[in-house]
Symmetry: C2
């Protein structure tokens, strides 16, 4: 157990070390770095966090982080209002936006079904998703959840809910393509991905 020369230092290190992926050595390095900065810089650091925490909104429609009640994507007139992409979290919205390949709307679940972590459907924005999918208005739901067991479970749960509500008549339900990543050597692709990419092969197009 490391002994800190100062209780104040130790408390600040405790706080940083409580963040995911930050060990005590890194926490100490970060705290000592901040300690060397000016009072103004440290104040800017803490106030950015305090302001975010107190003033942040989650979009009333898609539940992404937003500065307003309704996020710019939901407000936009240039987005395709008939396509809805279901994602786990805010980072995923940002990642998909960065590709520049998607122009529809989003729905952020705020997690995925994970019995091991005690997260069930009622902990997620699934009811609000179902409520959003009005016939005529939404024509396609793209499931863009992680390609893990939990992601698959959540995909299946949403699919079953839509089936049971007889909402799939004029609705396409799709999921993001899975396979060998672009630019990867087959040799370094894991067996499961490679196996599935052969089973799920698609017609070659020029």
């Amino acid at each position: 157990m490391t002994s800190y020369p100062s209780i104040l230092l130790s408390k600040a290190v405790d706080q940083f070390a409580s963040l995911p992926g930050i060990g005590r050595k890194t926490a100490l390095r970060l705290v000592l770095y901040l300690l060397r900065q000016s009072d103004k810089d440290v104040e800017a650091f803490t106030s950015a966090l305090t302001t975010l925490k107190s003033d942040v909104h989650y979009c009333r429609i898609c539940h992404t982080i937003s500065d307003q009640e309704i996020c710019p994507i939901c407000q936009s007139h240039s987005r395709d209002k008939h396509t809805l992409c279901v994602v786990e979290n805010v980072q995923d919205v940002m990642s998909i936006e960065n590709t520049g390949q998607y122009h529809g709307l989003y729905h952020v679940l705020g997690g995925i079904i994970s019995p091991m972590d005690g997260i069930g459907p009622s902990d997620l924005e699934i009811d609000s998703l179902i409520a959003r999918i009005q016939p005529e208005e939404i024509r396609e739901v793209i499931l863009a959840l992680p390609t893990t067991m939990e992601g698959d479970t959540t995909n299946f749960y949403i699919y079953r809910r839509l089936i049971s509500l007889q909402m799939t008549d004029n609705l396409r339900i799709s999921q993001i393509a899975r396979g060998v990543a672009i630019g990867n050597e087959l040799e370094y692709t894991d067996e499961i991905t490679l196996g599935r990419s052969i089973i799920n092969r698609v017609d070659f197009k020029v």
Copy 2:
């Protein structure tokens, strides 16, 4: 360039990403983690930092971080007051204390001489080190600076200062042992370290 759905989020990410070794992806992950915590937890995080910054002391004698004017090590009656270990920073004091092998005093330089970074002797606590080394009182100075070119330069500078002030008569000046790390295979030790450890071999003792 990643576009953030919220300016407040983007500002908080900027602050975390300004910390050393924290990229923008990690910064976003940390900020979103804190955002999921309670108001009380976020307040505890920011106030630990604010309190540390406003209330921290540096020991008047050895310049380590301390809650008091004089740190517990300098105040202690059980430490060997005749031996002074010169280190770069507070982390090094903690690392050496953790070994349990040293019972003397410390002197924290607050950096090392690095012309590339514009750090000269006057930016460091070298004058205060020289002032502390009173004949009769201090019998040994252990140079425990990094085993880099900058560390060596700083070692040499301190040595020359002590020589020029004719302070080395009854003073032992030592430096920490350099060589193959305990438990390491020679095969995986870098060539320079291994070469030096042969040149600087010591008598075998049983």
